[in-house]
Symmetry: C2
Subunit: 233 residues, 2 copies
Amino acid sequence: MTTNHGGIPDDAELMAATSDLAAALRELVEASVRTTTGAAQVRGAAELVRAATARISGSRRPLTRLPALDDPATGRRVFNPVIGVGSAIASPLRERADGDGVVAEGSFNAAYEGPPTFLHGGMSALVMDQLLGDAAWTVAAGGMTVHLELDYRRPVPLETPLVMRAGVTEATERKTVTAGTIALASAPHEPCVRAGAVFVRPRPEQAQDYFGTLTDASGRRPTGAADAAFARD
Amino acid sequence: MTTNHGGIPDDAELMAATSDLAAALRELVEASVRTTTGAAQVRGAAELVRAATARISGSRRPLTRLPALDDPATGRRVFNPVIGVGSAIASPLRERADGDGVVAEGSFNAAYEGPPTFLHGGMSALVMDQLLGDAAWTVAAGGMTVHLELDYRRPVPLETPLVMRAGVTEATERKTVTAGTIALASAPHEPCVRAGAVFVRPRPEQAQDYFGTLTDASGRRPTGAADAAFARD
């Protein structure tokens, strides 16, 4: 953990640095698929990347130990590969609660390409699984995906502002049914992709089976109540 | 483009450098979600990453110009975010043709996490969309995803060898129906995830609409025959 300078909480400092590294990495990932500078420059970049890896490889957490910045109580997962501010894989989306669910805005660069100039079809699925799950947590009991389904009407263009919506259509104590869309921000009522998913909250014995070995960042065991909050994806 | 030393083709040199950068980036992306070294080291890594980006940002291709290493004739897409050797987002999977489809082996690290210690549910969808599409291209007419559906039986653990299978169940001239599974390599007959997808090859006028502005790496227009081969994701 870092030293606390000038009254800035350690967590805020680590969060800022973590977000900064992810932002820098996203730029590099995109540059790596767009560059035409040639092999020597690409080799030089790889060398700098390996130096960066060495810089942060002094100590690492076990897979079963949560990151210091995660907060199971609020559901904050800093390295989530769709909406985590610390994830280099996540395309930055602005997500907010909206009515019976969530809405997200943003665009995808060439690193997320399927057919040339269009978003990979599986990326639509990845993003919608996350947003539908977030809707299920925001409005209902949440849980883990048991079914996901997508219909693709027209390809989603890269580098184009999009609006993604996800809402809850039916909810019981443990099961939540959701539906959502991906559309161009310029044509929000003509979805390119329609998605639906069903989420089920694990029973206590399942949660124990899946998450029973987890510890918080200090290595202590989280409470049973917190475990249930982990069952999201 | 790089100079050609000692008879090594330019393409081979660029391919090796591109694969090397992606491999280095994947290590850094994983390190960035596992590190516990603190804010100062993370800031230092971000600085090196920005230097790497500067190194390869001297020139970049337009989005409508294919990468030099792509080959529409064989379907090689170097930066594909699931199986591209040049993609930092892609978890390295070993994929091969197998019977009526394809099989892929590999594992996922913490950068692909959904619920703690498990693969993000949407990542299963991303990977299966790719593999089902590859099966459709290997065995039948291929095309773009029009429907994708997944049933999740049990969570897929991270850092665990997996086997992913995708095959064609029904094919007509323009439409291919596929099905596949994700299972632990240690229990290949008990799928964690079952997936199915339908792919449709665009009609010539659609292909023209979607890909009509594409050029090859030199800025020349590819042939009409090549355009159809782009309609994969």
